[in-house]
């Protein structure tokens, strides 16, 4: 699934210099958002945003455009104030501090390299602004150039670099002063998929080595799953759910999160009878001792890989489907199929040599464990 450790297509310049790391070390800071609210005119971009980010954590704020993720990041960076609430870094309120006094590293979506400065001068900029002595500037810039393996390009101008190289310069510039917090605003958005995946690993690795706290903003859920220690899903300026990648994937708390993170089948569920779950589109009714009678719009979220063709222990739900399409992806095969009740569902299975791939129109039987069904409310309909 996710590209594994050895990626033969990874550009050779893409490897990081591990030894160079040992000399750069930052201590991560704690960040606390306390009921931060921000409105633009009549539009509230962020409602009562509260969140504690732990030292050394890689926290991703995930959301689509307009979800408030950039507003949250800008409030932390100091580019836009908050209407109310407070932001603390290591227990100290920074809400009234201008950006230059917050001591944060930041990588921008478009890199924002200074076009009139060489790579060296770009990276030296934050040190010069801190009035570091010349010798220290040279040492530190050389060190981070070594980390991102761009030492040979120190005298180049940004416009003479490739997109990936510019990204690394932006990264080097953000970490050269060893900030306790590193902010990243969709830093990989402008790169192609291969490079993006390679850089995901590099960024994670650098963060591990540096030990700084990272606040990463993206709309790409795959990126969020791959990189984060925790994810915050924002929707319409509110926190929808906070959790580790596996929590978000395995135990989404709302229809929105189940749908947004990973692939899933969302099927209307009837929970009006205590102890019983009815999913009419699968023709399935099963007992769930914990389930209480609940009204409102509820959905059963079923991940594609949880539906299986071969019988398994505890897989009590059986669903008859007609195969619509089989998509061969090498290691896995993805199917779309229609249930007897007319719902289109997707399922996925690991490919095994012996297996015969069912053909279009073939009717097969799938099984599912009740424990693999996650029941989620549609918060937009049932209210919060």
């Amino acid at each position: 699934m996710v590209p594994t450790m050895v990626d033969v297509n990874k550009p050779s310049s893409g490897t990081l210099n591990r030894e160079a790391f040992s000399k750069v070390k930052a201590t991560g800071a704690t960040i606390e958002f306390q009921s931060v609210r921000k409105a633009y005119g009549s539009v509230t971009a962020l409602h009562d945003f509260s969140l504690t980010i732990h030292p050394g954590e890689f926290l991703t704020i995930l959301g689509s455009s307009g979800s408030g993720k950039t507003t949250a990041l800008n409030a932390l960076a100091g580019f836009s104030g908050a209407d109310s609430g407070d932001i603390l870094i290591d227990g100290k309120s920074v809400i009234d501090e201008p950006p230059e006094r917050r001591n944060l590293g930041m990588v921008f979506q478009n890199y924002s390299l200074f076009p009139h400065m060489t790579v060296f001068d770009n990276i030296a900029f934050p040190l010069r602004m801190r009035r570091a002595p010349r010798r220290e500037i040279n040492e530190r810039v050389e060190r981070v150039l070594e980390i991102v393996r761009l030492g040979a390009l120190a005298k180049r101008m940004p416009r003479d670099l490739s997109g990936g190289q510019q990204q690394r310069v932006a990264f080097a510039r953000a970490i050269v002063f060893e900030p306790p917090v590193l902010l990243m605003d969709e830093p990989l958005g402008a790169l192609d998929l291969k490079l993006r995946e390679a850089l995901q690993f590099e960024i994670k690795e650098i963060q591990h080595q540096l030990g700084c706290t990272v606040v990463y903003v993206t709309h790409d859920q795959r990126e969020a799953l791959a990189m984060s220690s925790r994810i915050v899903v924002l929707r319409d300026g509110r926190i929808e759910q906070v959790g580790t990648p596996s929590e978000m994937y395995d135990a989404p708390k709302s229809r929105f999160v189940a749908d947004f993170i990973g692939q899933t089948n969302l099927l209307a569920a009837d929970l009006s009878t205590a102890g019983s779950v009815s999913i009419s589109e699968l023709g399935a009714v099963y007992r769930d001792a914990d389930s209480q009678a609940r009204q409102g719009a509820w959905y059963a979220s079923v991940r594609p890989e949880k539906l299986q063709r071969r019988p398994a222990e505890g897989a009590d739900i059986a669903v008859g489907v007609t195969v619509q399409e089989a998509v061969f992806l090498g290691d896995v095969i993805e199917y779309s199929a229609r249930t007897a009740h007319g719902a289109l569902i997707h399922f996925r299975e690991q490919r095994r040599d012996r297996d015969r791939i069912p053909e279009r129109g073939e009717t097969i039987s799938l099984v599912l464990r009740p424990s693999d069904v996650v029941l989620v409310p549609d918060l937009a309909k049932t209210g919060r």
Partner: protein, 298 residues
């Protein structure tokens, strides 16, 4: 915006490989023809006249124009005045252009329109306006006398100061426009980046915005300088005979004294002097930006 000056490129990547294909050169033809007939040929002819003496080829016109005497004084006076006017336009116009460029795009249109309105009015009318304002019984004098600041009217018209003010007023919109168009190409997120990386607003301006907009300011300076060199009506009307500029002198030679040889020589000197100053400024700018490690260095 003429890249040559605004942002000295490496030459390497920019010039090579990006040569216009021959097939598109015909696009230049209309401009080239026009330029040939209204500029190259007339200037060539003027150049010929300027070396025409009583008996064939002679340098006597240039000796008259450049030798010690009133002509040389007026030539240097013109260069000096134009230099000062161009500098004043940049100093006054830069903050205005900065203000304009930092407005949200939809608010800019109206403000730009306001800046440009003076250009709709002919230079002649605007210059007469200054006579009304600066004259012995003009607005400024009657106000000063009215509030009792002075006893009698001040001599403001027909001074060098009046020429300065009137010329800056005429050329300012041009300078603002040129600088504004450079400033709008500067990505504002660069300033945000400078802030988060530790620069105060002022240092962000000095280290990022100023160098990136300097090319536009130099272009604006050169343009206003060259335009000022050729100013004719304004100095004649608000400066009086004392403040004669070289353009007035040339006009006198051509239309009154009918000494076309001397007039042509003065014209050629003006063209060459203009080129020389502009070239020197452009070179200086390249040198400065090159040496500081911003821009042209390898």
């Amino acid at each position: 915006m003429s890249d040559g000056v605004a942002m000295p490129r490496d030459g390497k990547g920019a010039a090579r490989g990006r040569r216009a294909p021959l097939s598109s050169l015909w696009l230049l033809a209309p401009a080239a023809v026009l330029f040939l007939f209204v500029f190259i040929l007339p200037v060539g002819e003027v150049a010929l006249w300027s070396v025409q003496g009583e008996a064939g080829l002679s340098a006597e016109n240039y000796e008259a124009a450049l030798g010690a005497g009133p002509y040389r004084t007026i030539l240097f006076g013109t260069l000096q005045l134009s230099f000062g006017v161009a500098c004043a336009c940049i100093l006054v116009g830069y903050p205005a252009a900065y203000f304009l460029a930092s407005r949200p795009p939809r608010n800019r249109t109206l403000l730009l329109l306001l800046i440009l309105t003076p250009l709709w009015v002919s230079v002649l009318v605007r210059t007469f306006g200054w006579i009304v304002v600066l004259g012995r019984e003009g607005l400024v004098n009657s106000m000063l006398i009215g509030i009792g600041a002075v006893d009698g009217p001040l001599q403001m018209l027909y001074t060098r100061g009046a020429v300065y003010i009137a010329m800056v007023q005429v050329l300012l919109p041009v300078a603002i426009l040129v600088m504004f168009s450079t400033m709008t190409t500067i990505n504002r997120s660069l300033l945000m980046a400078s802030r988060i990386l530790g620069a105060s607003p002022w240092r962000g301006f000095v280290h990022i915005f100023l160098p990136l907009s300097a090319g536009g300011a130099v272009n604006a300076w050169m343009l206003t300088f060259v335009l000022a060199l050729g100013f004719f009506i304004t100095p004649a009307l608000v400066g009086g005979p004392k403040e004669t500029m070289i353009a007035n002198l040339i006009a006198t030679q051509i239309t009154l004294t009918l000494d076309w040889g001397l007039g042509s020589a003065l014209g050629m000197v003006l063209v060459v002097a203009g080129f020389a100053v502009v070239g020197a400024i452009a070179l200086l700018f390249r040198r400065v930006t090159g040496l500081s490690g911003h821009g042209g260095s390898r």
